[in-house]
Symmetry: C2
Subunit: 308 residues, 2 copies
């Protein structure tokens, strides 16, 4: 829990209720932080808590002494696909999904506030971000820049600031430039402008039931909802089809299905699904009852308002 | 195409047929190279071609001037899940799958041949390998070692050799120690001994039809086969269930299903499936015909003998 984040990001608190404390993975200015603001609105966030790994984000959220209200974590990217680690952590931790949001990946070339583009000889960012800006970096005037892989997009901007690097650019979000007081030299430099990341908002399940006052998000049916669940099929041919028929026979649309390896059982899988509707709706409740019957294990991760 | 690999690995050629040239991703000694030997047998491999990225492996295999016969690429790991990049490259390149093999991930602590364990102060490897050996590295006598992330497991051993590092250990396969002439200080240091990676053997489709003499692998039905395909469902509720029913209605077992994002169409997916049987068998051929009808696009990647 960075004190820097407190001083920079502490905002006016709504007098009616305590503003939310929200964790995310990455450095200040990460795309995950943009997702926090996109979902809650900047003024409803009391404190953002940047943590170095997704493991730490889930661990801290589930720690009974933690004062975190939520965590916002990436579930999938429209180019790279599902973030398997997030799905695995949803299983191993007692959390529920209470919302979702999508954030466009709009990469900026960010340089030190005291330098100019002409002085740049090197560019650093997360290897995936460097790969996503290939066309921009291959242009004649930039093709001789040395490309350096670092652990985090926003981390590259932090390094430029802390080490006073005037010959090195970073690639990260506009928010990263803003937070670290650095300069945006170019915007929207990614090859594919349709690239976006879908984030989910998770809450410690046990905490929620204890005190409803810490609940900023309603998960009552809105008529435009989505339910997420994880299941393991029986070991029989056609088991997956029978499980999915629980949904399709009720004309419930499947939004996403993802398989993940089961730990210690090579080449066996569990499935993560998103489908239309709310578990408090009859059609959906019946489908879930059916799905329980058709699977060896089932965990409903939550029903929440569609945000994507 | 490294000349080093030629001198080290050129083996006796079978007089009846030319030995195979096989590409893989990574440095010499990578787990992918172990997979090459596991599938073909060391004596049937004439030349191994280490290439830096999966993109380069597929690109080189499909280059019409290339003399490569096959590439061996990772499809999934029993802990980390599917390698999405491989699935995407299977779609975008004109290749077929002709075989598969599974290689246990057995990490070794590797040190310079002129040093001892007592002198080690630092350990480097791919971040995933470091994470997989957490228990070993957290032990009292090693917990003060600095951990450094590098791009490749076998690459850490190469660096130890080339830079004469006597205070630094690497984590990689036993093959990496053997090839680079370094010393195995400990073996089987991974936390989870069930961890394995499944590799597929791919061939340039057009090359194969041109000259059968370069075909070392028969893909005729053996009675114990597997078929891999990629499809896009129609945009209708229940479309995935109807597609999979093409298989389940014939009691064809689905071994694996994996969704991947479609480029430029956020939150739309295509599906990769492995199922039992050979496309030259009637039951399987009918299922495929049905699957063609039920999907918007279908690409059969190949039928091959089960190896996992």
């Amino acid at each position: 829990m960075s004190t820097a984040s407190n001083s920079i990001l502490e905002t006016e608190k709504n007098s009616a209720q305590r503003a939310a404390s929200v964790a995310f993975q990455g450095e200040l200015g990460a795309y995950s932080q943009s997702a926090v603001y996109s979902f809650f609105g900047k003024s409803s966030v009391g404190r953002v808590v940047p943590l170095p790994t997704l493991q730490r984000v889930f661990g801290t959220l589930c720690d009974k002494n933690s004062d975190l209200d939520y965590a916002v974590v990436p579930l999938e990217n429209s180019l790279a696909g599902t973030i398997g680690e997030t799905v695995d952590l949803l299983i191993s931790h007692d959390v529920r999904i209470v919302g979702e949001t999508s954030v466009p990946v709009e990469h900026c070339l960010i340089i030190h506030k005291d330098t100019t583009l002409e002085k740049i000889k090197k560019v650093m960012s997360h290897p995936q971000a460097l790969a996503q800006c290939r066309e921009y970096l291959d242009a004649d005037e930039r093709k001789d820049w040395e490309q350096v892989s670092v652990y985090d997009t926003a981390g590259s901007v932090k390094m430029i600031k802390e080490q006073n690097l005037t010959e090195c650019a970073g690639i990260a979000s506009e928010l990263a430039a803003e937070i670290h007081g650095m300069k945006v030299a170019a915007k929207g430099i990614e090859d594919d402008h349709s690239n976006a990341t879908r984030f989910i908002v998770v809450q410690n399940s046990s905490k929620r039931s204890k005190s409803d006052e810490s609940s900023f998000i309603s998960t009552e049916p809105t008529g435009k909802d989505k339910t997420s669940a994880i299941f393991v099929t029986r070991h029989e041919p056609g088991a997956l089809v029978r499980a999915l028929t629980s949904l399709s026979s009720r004309r419930i649309n499947l939004g996403k299905i993802e398989s993940r390896p089961i730990r210690g059982k090579p080449w066996e899988y569990y499935f993560y699904v998103d489908f239309e509707g709310h578990q408090k709706e009859e059609r959906c409740a019946k489908a879930i009852a059916d799905l329980v019957y058709q699977s060896e294990e089932l965990k409903v991760l939550g029903s929440y308002k569609k945000g994507v």
